[in-house]
Symmetry: C2
Subunit: 186 residues, 2 copies
DNA sequence: TGAACATATGTGAAAATACACATATAAACT
DNA sequence: AGTTTATATGTGTATTTTCACATATGTTCA
């Protein structure tokens, strides 16, 4: 259901092809959403059937023909209604990494620490990417009204990465301390 | 796929029925996983077919009969293999709330602020629950080796909630400041 | 010369997840 | 007397998401 709104949301900025929308997912919405390209194409077809968007086929000589999707009034109304609805569902977090962490008592402490080091590195990399993205999009923290959402969510993404990094440090420390107390092995 | 490992993981602690596993999801794994009860029952049947778990029907007089699932060696091996695998996939975050935030430029600032206030409250509530849970499970920060995973993930959950709360405060402040600058309306 | 990559759109099938509904019984609440 | 809550397990169906694969063409790299 939410993919529909994500696509409508992207189309409020510019008309775009399915291919481009897939790119935008990877580039700017990566912090809080993702979708397989086949799903995007299928969802767009459905949305056109519902009259939320319209498409126009553009013939190309060098490349395959493309279909440019444009937001229709009905689509905009549908999106606005969702955005203004009062219900706010608790977000159900699903995270593979944490599932593995929750079972750390089953593996040797060194393996657990190695896992956390890798997780930390990954999130440090993510943090770096996000900082770069922010610096290029919002130099000196300046942003336009039209970019409010991106400004807020990219800060969320950066902080989320930092939260992961800090927690990894803490968790590594806890395991090392436990290891010392628990046995004399080096 | 991950649901399989989540269930195997829970069964390393105790044998349990599908009903109990559903309870445990709601109680202790809520910070990083969730599943509909029908999905749990179906997954357990599949896992029994694969020989990862075995079940025993227990007749009850007052209540409906129940099926107690127990972890088999093959299930434990499968779980361990997963836990020790080196591949660590970047977790793909999907969050409805952030999707809405990313489109804040489309709604009035007051609506955006109201949304963030509600989101903040919700995460403060979540933070409180988690703190209570931690205090009752790990008084004075003490934990047993067998609870390492829960100790680490519950700290993650608490910090995650705090991260949300802090970000909400920041975002509300940003919007209020923008509102002042952008217009003279009260 | 062949492989990989970018452009562009999809189908068929499987897996994961959720929703509505069904079946039982007993206690507790209103 | 009727509703809700708790105990317990599911089926049928729909939706969501992913995976493998297919079709085209032009450019770039090894």
């Amino acid at each position: 259901m939410a993919l529909k709104y994500a696509l409508l949301g992207l189309l409020t900025k510019n008309e775009a092809t399915g291919y481009e929308l897939n790119q935008q997912f990877k580039e700017t919405m990566i912090h809080f959403w993702s979708a397989h390209h086949t799903q995007i194409y299928r969802q767009l077809v459905k949305m056109e059937e519902e009259g939320l968007v319209s498409s126009q086929v553009v013939h190309q000589v060098d490349y395959p023909d493309k279909k440019i999707y444009r937001l229709e009034d009905k689509g905009y109304d549908t999106l606005l209604q969702w955005l203004l609805s009062k219900e706010i569902l608790p977000s159900n977090l699903k995270n593979d990494l944490l599932l593995r962490v929750s079972l750390f008592q089953l593996i040797p402490p060194d393996e657990a620490i190695a896992f956390l080091e890798r997780a930390k590195e990954q999130h440090m990399f993510g943090h770096g990417l996000m900082e770069k993205w922010r610096d290029s999009h919002f130099p000196e923290g300046q942003f336009n009204q039209g970019d409010l959402g991106e400004y807020l969510t990219s800060e969320f993404g950066k902080r989320y990465m930092q939260h992961w990094i800090d927690w990894c440090d803490w968790a590594i420390h806890v395991i090392k301390r436990t290891k010392e107390k628990g046995s004399d092995e080096e």
